[in-house]
Subunit: 538 residues, 2 copies
């Protein structure tokens, strides 16, 4: 049977950016766009050029995508001017992307209430805007805002808007359930009615999760004839979010009858990257990943009940609808470290740390990793700290130096000029091979502005390590991430530090404590220790 091709359109960087509390930087956007491209999506919508400085900068320094069509978002021109003379549309066109997606009205009530123009004017706006972009050689998409509500109120007018876009040369017209209030059965019914009039391979679906059915709504629309799905990573998006591509993609590739009926651009062998991609987005947003997320959540294949867990050990298919490794996830069975041990051996060998399979110290290391992860350490992100912990258990960790004590002070007061200033200072006492070194540091950058207690501590620590000074001279902090976790009733702080050296090598370490300075201190010590192990082992 020939499979029908579906198009996957990601709008994490545009509609996902509408999420409360989400403010991507240009660099965040570049990272995400490249990751979406690597996964194999068809379209990556980057934002709205001209709408805010971040989006404008991002399009000016756009990433080069290998597979996906890079897309700018905008809206149809306003009434009373030509498409060529609409400055908002001009900024979108000037971004120079191969594709442009324009949102426009298709609901008569909105045309008259929100825009305050005539129904004909709106149709002309759609038609001329799309034709203008097509004339510039761009691929044009039309997002029909509030299409389902519009269709229910005035089907003829809603369809007329789609026709206008289609006739003007739009590659796709996309039915948007902007309010998120349309349920899957109605989406299927209306999409089916549209698909009977318009060519299916030019029809898209864009759903929101306001009734917790965005994923099902998108699938129902495909069943009814739509051939493009618009959605976001992790279902990011305004209000309750958009259709979650992280759930939709594995369903299309792994579940029947979808897998034999449809073909998508994401190759099945890249699906194991999905869990990592989902977590990367949370990492960039400094959000705790949803443990219960379908397919990719840490608990998605966790089996708590004794009954289930014992059946799982007999045959995993008894309680799992897909093999977790297909999406890069893993099975979690409490009290079983079967899977843990083989992972551990692989990881050690990758780090160049040799260990015998039967070494009883491996079980203790595994238990320690689990205990520490329960307390908030995350060794997946902090590979360097993991290696140091493994070395400690296997008797391979050397003692280079010892911090006898430190004191960090942050003071806010009026200076001699009567200005309020903040000053951070650290004092550290270190022992190296029996010699004692005391160092102090302020935390001022080149402009004389205070950089805070962790910076002061880092400077003081690396100021005098006796004979190791040369080995750490080229080391610097490049990133510092803080997350507050709750462990039981306590709030604890996890610090992840990324360091680099003169050869451009980077490594990440972790510290956990109720005290942020203490957590940072642990990560700083690991960072220096890792560097010394590596450079003195060579």
């Amino acid at each position: 049977m020939t499979r029908t091709r579906l198009s996957l359109f990601d709008t994490t960087l545009r509609d996902g950016q509408q999420t409360q509390g989400v403010d991507f930087s240009g660099d965040d956007k570049r990272k995400i766009a490249l990751a979406l491209d690597a996964l194999g999506l068809d379209y990556v919508e980057g934002g709205w050029p001209g709408a805010n400085p971040t989006d404008s900068e991002f399009f000016a320094n756009a990433p080069v995508l290998k597979h996906a069509t890079f897309t700018a978002f905008g809206m149809t021109k306003r009434a009373g001017r030509s498409a060529a003379n609409d400055d908002v549309l001009a900024e979108v066109a000037n971004a120079g992307t191969p594709a442009v997606c324009l949102v426009g009205k298709s609901y008569d009530f909105h045309v008259e209430t929100a825009l305050g123009i005539t129904l004909d004017e709106n149709v002309a706006n759609i038609s001329e805007s799309i034709a203008h972009l097509v004339g510039l050689g761009r691929e044009a998409l039309f997002d029909a805002e509030h299409f389902f509500d519009g269709y229910k109120a005035n089907p003829d007018y809603a369809l007329r808007c789609l026709d206008a876009a289609m006739e003007a040369g739009a590659r796709w017209v996309v039915l948007c359930d902007t309010n998120g209030g349309t349920l899957p059965d109605e989406i299927a019914e209306i999409t089916g009615a549209v698909a009977r009039r318009l060519p299916g391979d030019r029809l898209g679906i864009h759903t929101h999760n306001d009734t917790e059915t965005a994923v099902a709504g998108a699938l129902a629309a495909v069943d009814a004839g739509a051939r493009q799905i618009q959605g976001t990573l992790n279902g990011l998006g305004e209000r309750c979010g958009n259709a979650n591509l992280v759930s939709i993609i594995p369903t299309l590739l792994l579940k029947e009858p979808w897998a034999s009926r449809y073909e998508v651009s994401v190759p099945k062998d890249r699906l194991p990257g999905l869990s990592g991609l989902s977590r990367m987005l949370d990492e960039l947003l400094n959000r705790a990943p949803d443990r219960h997320a379908p397919y990719v959540g840490a608990a998605a294949f966790a089996h708590k009940a004794g009954l289930h867990a014992s059946a799982i050990i007999k045959d995993p298919t008894t309680y799992e609808h897909i093999p977790p490794e297909a999406v890069g996830n893993e099975r979690v069975i409490p009290m079983s470290n079967q899977a843990g041990r083989s992972n551990l051996l692989r990881r050690l060998s990758e780090a160049g740390i040799s260990a015998e399979k039967s070494d009883p110290r491996l079980s203790r290391l595994l238990q320690d990793v689990k205990d520490k992860e329960d307390r908030g350490f995350s060794y997946d992100s902090a590979e360097a700290s993991f290696q140091l912990l493994a070395r400690a258990h296997l008797g391979l960790r050397r003692k280079f130096f010892d911090v006898e004590r430190f004191r960090v002070t942050v003071e806010r007061r009026h200076n001699a000029m009567k200005n309020l200033v903040t000053v951070s200072e650290a004092v550290v006492v270190v022992n190296v091979d029996g010699s004692r070194f005391i160092s102090a540091s302020e935390s001022l950058d080149e402009a004389g502005s205070d950089q805070g207690p962790v910076n002061a501590l880092s400077k003081a620590l690396s100021k005098d390590l006796g004979k190791y000074d040369a080995a750490i001279a080229d080391m610097r902090l490049v990133d510092f991430k803080v997350r507050i976790l709750s462990a039981g009733t306590e709030a604890i702080t996890r610090v992840l530090l990324e360091s680099c050296d003169g050869e451009g090598r980077r490594w990440t370490t972790v510290g956990v404590s109720a005290n942020i300075v203490d957590a940072s201190f642990q990560a700083l010590i690991d960072a220096i220790d890792f560097k010394l192990h590596r450079d003195t082992d060579r």
Copy 2:
């Protein structure tokens, strides 16, 4: 048109308890059961009597429900003994609940692989167990585990299991998608096939969220003829959770065609209690509520984009699929980069801050918000800091106190017992109405463990504010979020603090600085200032 009656069955206290990290106490269970009863559900399943000490205690001290049928969960008897002699079933029956729901197999593969008994033995177990309960005068329900997978593998056998339960007197037979892998279209197809054989008003549906379609799957089953929905509050449940009743109930009551087609036991006028019920569950579990939860999430009716916000002000139905107050939620039009002037006016009026539309100070406020957001402040998360900033621009911010200076110290050293300890300490000098107060605080929790510099600073700040001591006495920090942002080449720290008071009110403030202690200080000052403005304005 006569509406068809649907039955709502809650399993938060049984299947919801399978969630990783969830361990209800008996008191938690009593509170939740009473709240579910007050909302008006038909069945409240309390747990499995005999399976663990908590459940046994809970059934021994069961709450008295006014409306809902209190239900115990168990499994069909084992082979090789009579129903009366099965000790597991006896414990369930002895709990004395008016209804009992028994799970049993309906998938031939599981009967033979997991149970290791013959297909006939399994049918006899179902039949005899149900008949035993009915004989004791109980209402019996049969949860057919893995029904959809079983039906696909061997429809005759799966149906034979349902028939056995039905003929033995089960009030309901419930089709369970135990793995959560069946998609809504297939659920509809199979449920439809079953409904053509069995009376619909004895057919239930039980779905899981492993493909993010649990809610849609339950609705699809109802469409195909099922008349009971089993689910949990907030979609709690093993792996990715169960069908979320908090999303299903408002859909059935408020959305068409559901509302005119079906009748449920929850009265529409109790629906405004839903948001509170959802948050109460998170409160009991000590979890942060999901801001993006459909219907009840804090962001479910939050409008970020300037375009949407200005339309919302003209007519809320333009971007809202239901009125937020129908489910006890509220509209939020946060301030952010993308917000315009109309958004600002709306926000001010909701905060009780009056301003003339033409007031030129509004433009300066808007510009200040934008400038600060470019420097990392996020007023869409920190509503309280936004209000203080607005008050400052409009000449409405009072000066309650002034911090002359502070000093925070974190020290790590050996104590008298030669253990390494970390100690944080803060000293603050505050002026209130010309009086000077100096306060010092350590940062130790009840167990004597150090909680870090921000905690010490917070304690010292609130220790002595002279005549305002009473006003801030009931205030405490409930959440602390830190994000490192890059602004140009500099790394800066954004701190978001959530505070609450004795009346359960919560507010969030923000601070931004290269120095994390300084950023926290700004947010702390705003938190206290907000409380004083509100409580002294009353």
